[in-house]
């Protein structure tokens, strides 16, 4: 009888660990896809603003071309693990290019006053907030996943359900640079 109880307890614990490993893996996938959803929202903004910007920002053709190319590259990425890493790197570039676009649009009052651009800018700010939140969610899920993969006996179950280490979402290197107040005065 004692033997049966012991075996039952062990089986329950093993099953719990198996379920937990699946949960951790799925949570990381959910977090990765939440980033993708937000990045897509941001990419969808690009055509709206570019259509208008082309009329007003003739001197910024290189930036507009860069934005178009970045959007095409981002859209071509598939859902693989490598694509996720590439997407993260690309995201920094898209973010920086869009930031530059909105900063430069200040020099074009006609463009700036367009309702579409104003709406796009508002949406951009909101999406940026959601992207930052998604990154935090993703990094939290990745920490749990990587911990599970590196800690015995969860590592065994995590490997058994096909979980793999995922990269952390890191901020752009520019953000780590000290801010020079004179640039803004």
């Amino acid at each position: 009888m004692e033997y049966l109880i012991f075996v039952s307890i062990v089986l329950i614990v093993l099953y719990w660990m198996y379920v937990r490993a699946i949960q951790i893996k799925n949570r990381a996938s959910e977090a990765a896809s939440s980033i993708e959803v937000q990045l897509e929202k941001r990419r969808d903004l690009i055509p709206n603003v570019l259509t208008l910007a082309k009329k007003f920002m003739e001197h910024e053709k290189s930036l507009l071309t860069e934005l178009t190319e970045l959007r095409s590259r981002a859209n071509s990425l598939n859902n693989s693990r490598e694509a996720l890493k590439a997407g993260m790197e690309l995201d920094t570039t898209v973010s920086s290019a869009l930031g530059r676009f909105f900063a430069l649009s200040e020099n074009y009052p006609d463009l700036k006053s367009q309702a579409t651009v104003l709406r796009a800018q508002e949406t951009y700010e909101e999406v940026e907030g959601h992207i930052a939140a998604s990154r935090r969610f993703y990094n939290s899920a990745v920490t749990d996943l990587n911990n599970a993969l590196e800690t015995f006996p969860m590592s065994y179950f995590a490997s058994a359900v096909g979980a793999e280490r995922l990269p952390y979402f890191k901020g752009s290197p520019d953000a780590a640079e000290p801010v020079n107040a004179r640039d803004y005065l």
């Binding site: 508002e122 907030g129 959601h130 998604s134 990094n139 939290s140």
Partner: protein
């Protein structure tokens, strides 16, 4: 009230004022000029009221003395010496006692009608002693389960564009024909600028009532945040992990920790672009006491601290929207 009680109460006031003053030094970093000007104005108000209280106490004492004197004279002149207190003297004592208490009773009304609204006016609030049931009815499902609710001291208004509504609430549950208090404190509601339809519930780990969010958040997941102090202080539940982090930025978390340090057992709900703070204060916000002792000035300092943190919390929510726009 014995002299020992009075001494103990005075010591407790001193301790509370000292603690408040220490906490203020931290808050001064947030709004130095406003703190100084507002508190100076309160000091003047209290001094005026204190002078009025002393005059009323003297008046009450004199009226009581006259009543006693008249009753004694009537009693001495009573023809039957076997009766200790005559009927006439008794009636005089009762009526005189009521008359003597009248100046103090009026003082209590003046405190609520004049001093409290004046204090609240400094923050842009309108005061109403009789609270409306709006706050409770909207958030009934996320407050502790209760059979009876008592609301008082409702005030609302706008400060720096913030619409805020605060009420003192006491929630009670019936236990064997008696009522036990399950929540006693403030309910504070204000708008926040971020657009999200997700509900987020934050419950302090010091909170006694663990059933608070059961009805609404059974299907919610726990949100694990990266701030270890916040994690140790609060449990966060939401149906959307990303939206929860969108609202709970590091700055907002910092403000909530500051508020929790003032009042253990905080609960916060984000819903429909509104924030509801349930602050278990446990004492009346503006309770003048018995008027035998000097007024407790600590209550205003406490209130000032609460409002300052509520504003700073809103500013933290607002700041994310403003700086990026």
């Amino acid at each position: 009230m014995s002299f020992m009680d009075i001494a103990a109460r005075r010591a407790s006031y001193r301790e509370r004022n000292k603690r408040n003053s220490e906490d203020f030094q931290k808050l001064d970093m947030l709004r130095p000029s406003e703190n100084e000007a507002t508190l100076l104005h309160f000091e003047q108000l209290f001094n005026e009221f204190e002078a009025l209280r002393e005059r009323r106490l003297v008046l009450s004492f004199l009226l009581g003395l006259v009543t006693l004197g008249v009753a004694v004279v009537i009693n001495f002149n009573y023809p039957d010496p076997r009766i200790a207190i005559s009927r006439e003297a008794g009636i005089i004592l009762i009526l005189g006692g009521m008359l003597s208490y009248l100046p103090i009773k009026l003082l209590r009304m003046e405190f609520k009608d004049r001093l409290v609204p004046e204090i609240l006016k400094q923050y842009g609030f309108t005061y109403d002693q009789n609270a409306a049931d709006v706050l409770l009815s909207k958030y009934e499902d996320v407050l502790p389960i209760h059979d009876r609710s008592e609301l008082s001291d409702h005030f609302w208004g706008e400060h720096n564009g913030i619409q805020m509504s605060v009420a003192e609430v006491r929630l009670k549950v019936e236990v064997y024909k008696y009522y036990a208090t399950v929540f006693d404190g403030l309910l504070c509601r204000f708008d926040y600028p971020k657009k999200t339809s997700t509900q987020i519930a934050i419950q302090s780990r010091h909170s006694i009532a663990s059933d608070v969010f059961n009805s609404v958040f059974k299907s919610s997941d726990r949100v694990k945040l990266e701030d270890s102090v916040f994690e140790a202080t609060f449990d966060v539940f939401s149906t959307n992990q990303v939206a929860a982090r969108y609202i709970l930025t590091p700055m907002v978390m910092e403000r909530l920790i500051a508020l929790e340090q003032l009042h253990n057992g905080l609960r916060v709900i984000f819903r429909d672009s509104e924030v509801l703070l349930a602050i278990p204060d446990g004492s009346d916000l503006f309770n003048p006491g018995k008027f035998i002792l000097p007024l407790d000035r600590g209550m205003v300092q406490q209130f000032h601290k609460d409002v300052t943190i509520m504003y700073s919390l809103h500013e933290a929510l607002n700041l994310d929207a403003k700086t990026k726009a």
